[in-house]
């Protein structure tokens, strides 16, 4: 039996959460509350240590006068964000929200173009005939057909009937295969987490294995 108090704490929280499999109970509710509360504090500390402190405090201390003048803008907008707590000045917080929304939208457009649209189209433009490599030729056909039929399923400007209907129904088959594969992977990821927790209980806590 492990003597470290912290192993017992971890074992208590692990068992308390797993107890939900039987039914909702006070032990689970306590562990859930501790998880939510401590995670919120952890996120706050994480944001401070890795985002706000290096980008704002350290940049202010180490920066030149110009850097400091530039930093006044995000600091002012951050203070504006907190104006939501003062009903009369609540409207000022919209400026900060507008900046984050605009940045989010801009980063979204740029990121999706760079990270998804271009690489995915590039990955789909593959040769449909490779001499002396029948296997790769078939694989390329499957990828191209899968992409086009899946996109056609999400094209709602035209009725899914006739040839187009058959094309989009083939897309559904590809989608089902993709969902099946994703589901299988997700299950295995969760099961590996469960194995980790069970190993902790049996090895670190009880010392049985």
């Amino acid at each position: 039996m492990a003597t470290t108090i912290w192993v017992w704490v971890a074992a208590f929280f692990t068992l308390a959460i797993l107890s939900f499999l039987y039914k909702d109970n006070p032990f689970y509710r306590i562990a859930e509350s501790v998880y939510v509360g401590s995670s919120a504090a952890y996120m706050l500390l994480f944001l401070w240590s890795f985002d706000v402190k290096p980008k704002m405090i350290d940049a202010w201390v180490k920066g030149s006068t110009t850097d400091r003048l530039i930093l006044i803008i995000p600091i002012t907008l951050s203070i504006f964000m907190l104006m939501r707590f003062i009903p009369k000045l609540r409207w000022i917080s919209r400026w900060a929200i507008a900046f984050t929304v605009g940045m989010g939208a801009g980063l979204g457009v740029a990121g999706l173009l760079q990270g998804f649209v271009v690489p995915q189209i590039k990955g789909t433009i593959v040769p449909l005939w490779i001499a002396n490599n029948f296997k790769q030729t078939i694989n390329n056909w499957i990828i191209v057909l899968g992409t086009l039929t899946t996109i056609s399923y999400f094209f709602f400007s035209r009725k899914h009937t006739g040839v187009f209907g058959k094309f989009s129904r083939t897309g559904v088959m590809f989608i089902m295969i993709a969902f099946g594969a994703t589901f299988g992977f997700t299950i295995m990821a969760r099961v590996s987490l469960l194995i980790g927790r069970l190993y902790f209980l049996l090895h670190d806590w009880l010392g049985l294995i």
Partner: protein
């Protein structure tokens, strides 16, 4: 002006990032970096708004002695204990994740990680339970989902290739049994013929398929992940990306203004 200024800010910040993508020359690269830093700082402050909502709601429950108030009190106490612990640890060691930080060595290792990983592990049971109810090989599409998920799961576990033959054998037997009962209840011999042919096909391909899955487990898993499901994933990703871009442009050009309400 209470609406126009925020819309101008949204337009300028959004367009600056998009222009920086297409014009990778000074001063746009620097503007993008500066705006990104601002975004990180301001987003950090939005956490305070979220915390105000979380703590305010739970504090209100404690004050009113509403149902489950002891849990709300536990939440508030665990928040402040973690926060104070983190601050003290940071002051003592210089960084929250320093190797000598008690916050990292005790709170993170023995409280945060067990809570988070057990919470996510719990989902394995719920997903399996939902799958048991939803995974019925009633249609071709449902069967494709079931078969792909089963193969992926079996190819991921140790000794999966050994249990593959009996698992698929039971599945094939059930499928043949179902098809044969459809054949028996068919109105005429010709109407039931497709069921009979499908049963024969399943029996005929069972052994070769099991042999391939048993001997080339990793190759089959890779082929499903890199080829068979890749087309659909690409289609879905492209759809999501195009939708996201359209939404982003709507926000930047002030067509979508719900964030101002």
């Amino acid at each position: 002006m209470k609406r126009e200024i925020p819309m101008i800010i949204t337009f300028v910040s959004g367009m600056a990032i998009i222009i920086a993508l297409f014009v990778p020359h000074p001063p746009f690269g620097r503007v993008e970096e500066t705006f990104n830093n601002w975004y990180i700082i301001i987003s950090g402050f939005t956490m305070i708004l979220g915390l105000n909502s979380l703590l305010g709601h739970n504090l209100d429950k404690v004050k009113r002695k509403a149902e489950g108030w002891p849990y709300s009190l536990t939440l508030i106490l665990s928040f402040f204990i973690t926060l104070i612990w983190g601050i003290v640890s940071t002051i003592r060691t210089g960084h929250i994740f320093a190797s000598t930080s008690t916050f990292r060595n005790y709170y993170y290792t023995y409280v945060f990680v067990p809570l988070q990983s057990t919470m996510f592990a719990l989902l394995a049971f719920f997903i399996a339970s939902a799958a048991y109810r939803a995974f019925r090989a009633r249609t071709v599409n449902a069967t494709l989902l079931l078969v792909t998920a089963s193969i992926i799961m079996l190819t991921q576990v140790p000794k999966g290739e050994t249990v593959m033959a009996p698992v698929l054998g039971v599945a094939a037997l059930l499928a043949v049994w179902k098809l044969m009962s459809e054949f028996e209840s068919a109105a005429s011999w010709t109407a039931g013929l497709p069921y009979l042919l499908l049963s024969i096909a399943i029996v005929a391909v069972y052994l070769p398929i099991v042999e391939v899955l048993r001997t080339q487990t990793t190759a089959v898993n890779d082929w499903i992940m890199n080829v068979l499901q890749m087309g659909a994933k690409r289609g879905i990703w492209l759809g999501i990306a195009l939708g996201g871009i359209a939404m982003g442009l709507r926000i930047i050009f002030g067509i979508e203004k719900s964030y101002l309400t």
